[in-house]
């Protein structure tokens, strides 16, 4: 029993030695909007030191007890949780939060990819983080409008609310190739990116053949993708001739939308055309 009492008393003394009594009252508002001026009343008399501590902002100030402690406009600018310590003859503490300004001031907008094929469903993604004037992430739901527009395609618009400061969308690439403007707008603040939409794989690849002495002259029709966009010049078209168990291939780049080549004219030879994995028509030379 005596031991228990001794231990209890010991811990009481320990607590008294290790900590300090909060003899003073420090009444910070529970929340303050970032950048807003405010003041905190103090009681007592004499001098004390005020510390306001949060990972992203720290301040130390000598104060006169009994007077208001004034925080100027813009002084507490970083949103977050703060602990205030007032040390003098005794120590008082208070916790408070600085909240972001609700009006957006900037958007961190990530649009990917910067280049893609036309007519891809959900091929384009946009992610927007919305910040206030002090570069605090605005955590309350904020409407964001995403807009994708190109010269030859219909405008796509999606309106989304931020969740924990972020909004995202996925959009389809247009059926017509060319640059598209991808915008994110929140509270009148706009951030833009350019997405290059390029033709897709060739579609309905077709060639014709004609005799040219002891050779066969081969030429494709104008090569287009499935949406009718011309496939870019320089794209390699492969012509393959199979005859008597042997195969020979010629690669020819597209020039002004068509590819041309010639191959030896063997009666009974089979000639095929392809662009990458896309196969075209087949001709049997007679």
């Amino acid at each position: 029993m005596k031991t228990a009492i001794t231990l209890s008393l010991g811990f009481l003394v320990a607590l008294t030695l290790c900590g300090r009594a909060a003899g003073q009252d420090l009444q910070f508002p529970k929340t303050v909007e970032a950048g807003r001026a405010f003041s905190v009343p103090t009681t007592g008399s004499g001098k004390a030191t005020l510390y306001v501590v949060g990972p992203t902002q720290v301040l130390r100030r000598e104060v006169s007890l009994g007077e208001n402690i004034a925080f100027a406009r813009g002084e507490m600018a970083n949103a977050g949780h703060y602990t205030a310590f007032l040390t003098g003859s005794s120590t008082a503490t208070a916790d408070f939060d600085v909240t972001p300004v609700s009006q957006p001031s900037s958007i961190s907008f990530l649009a990917k990819p910067s280049r893609l094929a036309v007519d891809l469903p959900n091929g384009i993604s946009g992610v927007a983080y919305v910040f206030d004037v002090f570069r605090n992430l605005i955590l309350q739901p904020t409407p964001v409008s995403f807009q994708l527009s190109g010269a030859n395609s219909a405008v796509q618009v999606q309106k989304v609310e931020t969740k924990n400061g972020v909004a995202w969308v996925k959009m389809n690439s247009a059926t017509r190739s060319g640059p598209a403007q991808f915008e994110a707008e929140a509270g009148g603040v706009v951030d833009k990116r350019v997405i290059e939409q390029v033709p897709g794989d060739p579609c309905n690849l077709r060639m014709t053949a004609r005799a040219d002495g002891d050779r066969v002259a081969l030429e494709t029709d104008p090569v287009r993708d499935c949406s009718g966009n011309p496939v870019p010049d320089g794209t390699i078209i492969s012509f393959t001739e199979s005859y008597n168990g042997e195969t020979s291939t010629v690669d020819a780049p597209l020039k002004r939308g068509v590819a041309k080549t010639d191959l030896p004219a063997y009666k009974g030879a089979t000639i095929t055309v392809a662009a990458g994995v896309v196969m075209g028509n087949e001709i049997r030379w007679q």
């Binding site: 003394v13 320990a14 510390y51 909240t99 990530l110 992430l137 972020v166």
Partner: protein, 175 residues
Amino acid sequence: MKKTVFRKLKALKWTALLGCIFAGLLLMGADEPAVHVEAVDASSPRELEQQTQEAVVRDYLLAWQTLDHAMGANQTDLLDATFVGVAKEKLADAIREQQKAGIQTHYIDRSHDLKLVFYSPEGLSIQLLDTVEYDVQLVDHDKVQATQHVRTRYVAVLSPTEVRWKVRIFQAEAQ
């Protein structure tokens, strides 16, 4: 009689001293923080692989250690290892404020309750919410002024860099 009172006082003194050491250990913390991780939100646009999740959590917890070291030593360059962008800039500003004022702070994280809420479609950012408990200790001109236990929720956004995920946004949310 006098001898008994003296013995009792002596016992009291030792118990008080041990109590102080125990309380000090509790406050300064030799232990790792308790960590609980909740799987990524189903509404997130990109699936999060287990390996990526582990890396993100590991690097985020490392960022808390870095924060404590950098704020305790008043060295902005220590932040480079785990922070980037606006988070690094704001923390570096706070360290410079500390240097001017002649103070240091320690952030000793006790527990993290993590929820991965957003993994961006292109894989360039991960957002997590952390209900964290930590002790903040204030040191003014090498003298410990006060220690306060804090429980709050942080919103953090991490981006991949060459070697690890780094914290780009680090902001406590009003409760």
